[in-house]
């Protein structure tokens, strides 16, 4: 219907559209900047306090010093605790990814009787076990099977608690893998194991990457399970060590805590970026549905 339009009006219309797009863009960017600032603001303390002579709760221009780092380096458990954290977190991650992928794929493709009820029941029960009330049974159970004071025991308990959620989330990703892919793979004679490894997992990869990071984060901050199940301070993870930087009456030693918090947060961020780079959020191409 452009025949009746004068050239001037077309230009104006194009111009207003451009203006509107610019305005939208400005609003959009401003909103994102604001949200970013909101998220960044509380983090300011973490960048200042570790370098201050006497950190308080306030964000203030510090009396620059690295003495807190020096003090942390003198702590006999600081470095090993980070290594323990990595061991426990990555161990749990491997267990839940391996078992969770297998289970969620099978649950997604085969109707096992009572499947949904089972999934929901597991998920709900996992919320009981994270509570304080369940620590007595867990402790006694680990005593019975002789896994007290082993990292294996901690990994298994944590994995048991995380698996329902992992299966739940991964099943969604498995569900959204177009089945035509598998059909064609089958036509070429691939068995179920091959199909899972070569077709389904690459497609569900963003989901797997996400669950991997999620389980690392869950484990990273967990205090109670490793604390109760491990006896030797040299095998405790960083989350437990963090709680030792308090005085006899429960006052936080901000000098150590601020530094350790910084060091504590970095590996998780690193893991996130590595996992993301390698397996993360890329559009899959190649196969056309």
């Amino acid at each position: 219907m452009t025949t009746a339009l004068s050239p001037g009006r077309t230009r104006r219309k194009a111009w207003t559209r451009a203006l509107r797009r610019t305005a939208e863009r400005i609003v959009f960017v401003t909103a994102l900047v604001l949200i970013g600032a909101l998220f960044a603001l509380p983090l300011a303390w973490l960048l200042v306090a570790p370098f201050d002579q006497n950190p308080t709760m306030a964000v203030k221009w510090p009396q620059w010093t690295l003495s807190s780092f020096q003090r942390l380096m003198d702590n006999p458990y600081a470095l090993t605790s980070i290594l323990n954290s990595l061991l426990i977190a990555l161990g749990t991650m491997v267990v839940v990814i391996a078992l969770g992928t297998l289970a969620s794929y099978a649950l997604s493709r085969v109707r096992i009787p009572g499947r949904d009820a089972l999934l929901y029941a597991m998920l709900l029960l996992s919320s009981i076990v994270t509570g304080t009330a369940a620590m007595v049974p867990t402790f006694q159970l680990m005593n019975l099977i002789g896994l007290i004071n082993t990292h294996t025991g901690v990994i298994l308990v944590l994995a048991g608690g995380l698996l329902p959620t992992v299966v739940f989330i991964l099943k969604d990703f498995m569900d959204s893998v177009p089945k035509s892919y598998e059909e064609s793979a089958r036509l070429y004679g691939a068995g179920p194991g091959r199909i899972l490894a070569d077709v389904v997992i690459p497609v569900a990869r963003p989901g797997i990457a996400f669950v991997a990071i999620w389980s690392v984060v869950q484990v990273w901050g967990n205090f109670l399970v490793p604390y109760l199940l491990l006896r030797d301070p040299a095998s405790q993870p960083a989350a437990v060590l963090m709680y030792t930087f308090y005085t006899e009456s429960g006052q936080a030693d901000l000098r150590l805590i601020s530094v350790f918090a910084l060091i504590f947060a970095l590996p998780v961020l690193l893991i996130y970026f590595v996992v993301n780079r390698k397996f993360g959020f890329r559009f899959y191409g190649g196969i056309k549905s």
């Binding site: 085969v110 009330a133 990703f173 899972l196 989901g207 990071i213």
Partner: protein
């Protein structure tokens, strides 16, 4: 709106749901084999402690004192005591508000908006934004609570300095609002990533064909993206609800106070079970919480089903 084409763009006809169709020829036996290791681990380390906890909820068990050496089964006493306790009803009210506002509304919406927005952003800006959101999520609660106490401090807090409102005690005057915002801050990254992953699993061919059919951003969102990731939305909402119910981190910020104004359910359970010593009652409370969560989960399932 849908234009008839050879490649179907109608999402309904094209929805790639592979559920329940054994296209890979797995077979029941092999499926069980796939599920068995996960189930074994869950049965041993989740089911068994959970059942034990349910039993403890029927006793007067304590970790120390006389009730530790001579534990009696008291039946439904713990439940009756709880239902008569005004603090329980208070914590239920606080929890419902907290979960609805910070979890279901706050985290999910914020997470989705961020995931949807950063797709269009360039490299460094996206990295920066994702990094701060993620940092809030990965830094453990014990540290995060310090950050927020420093932010909200009455005398030297960053927020009061920025707003020029010296002496405003945020944690005392608006405690519930603070922990709601705090929890959105902590947890948004989960939804953001889940939706990012989900969005990147939307087959691009579909988006492309709907764009070629002249659909705007909103229309693409409505007709292609949302139907594809509906399962994720449901999962996300359910997870967020469960976790927000269970989260304990706000305790480090307000200790449930002032008074009991931020005593969410997990804090109420903690105070009952650990400083109070009533592990039996704490276990009963966990079971009550499970029942509440069950109702919510059923409601979500119903919503999920009815829209399928």
């Amino acid at each position: 709106m849908p234009v008839a084409k050879t490649t179907q763009t109608s999402p309904r006809a094209q929805r790639p749901r592979g559920c329940d169709e054994d296209v890979a020829g797995l077979g029941g036996g092999r499926a069980l084999l796939f599920v068995a290791p996960a189930l074994t681990l869950i049965a041993l380390f989740l089911l068994f402690p959970a059942v034990w906890t349910i039993y403890l909820g029927l006793t007067n068990y304590r970790l120390t004192g006389l009730a530790a050496s001579a534990t009696d089964v008291v039946g439904a006493d713990n439940y009756l005591t709880t239902l008569r306790d005004p603090s329980f009803w208070n914590s239920l009210r606080v929890t419902v508000l907290f979960v609805a506002l910070s979890g279901v509304v706050g985290q999910s919406l914020m997470g989705f908006s961020l995931a949807w927005s950063v797709r269009r952003l360039g490299g460094w800006a996206r990295t920066a934004l994702e990094s701060v959101v993620l940092a809030a999520w990965v830094i453990p609660g014990s540290v995060v609570s310090f950050l927020w106490i420093a932010l909200l401090d009455r005398r030297e807090g960053t927020l009061n300095a920025l707003l020029h409102m010296p002496g405003k005690a945020w944690l005392i005057e608006h405690p519930l609002a603070v922990i709601i915002i705090f929890n959105i801050w902590c947890g948004t990254a989960f939804s953001m990533q889940l939706f990012s992953s989900a969005l990147s699993a939307v087959p691009p061919s579909q988006l492309e064909s709907s764009r070629m059919a002249g659909a705007s951003g909103w229309q693409q969102l409505r007709d292609v993206v949302l139907p594809t990731i509906r399962g994720h939305i449901l999962t996300n909402t359910l997870m967020i609800t469960l976790w927000t119910f269970n989260t304990f981190t706000p305790y480090l910020l307000t200790a449930g106070g002032p008074g009991r104004r931020t005593e969410i359910m997990s804090v109420y359970i903690y105070k009952t079970a650990i400083p109070g010593g009533h592990l039996g009652r704490g276990a009963a409370l966990s079971v009550l919480m499970l029942l509440i969560n069950l109702v919510i989960a059923l409601a979500y399932m119903r919503v999920g089903r009815s829209r399928r």
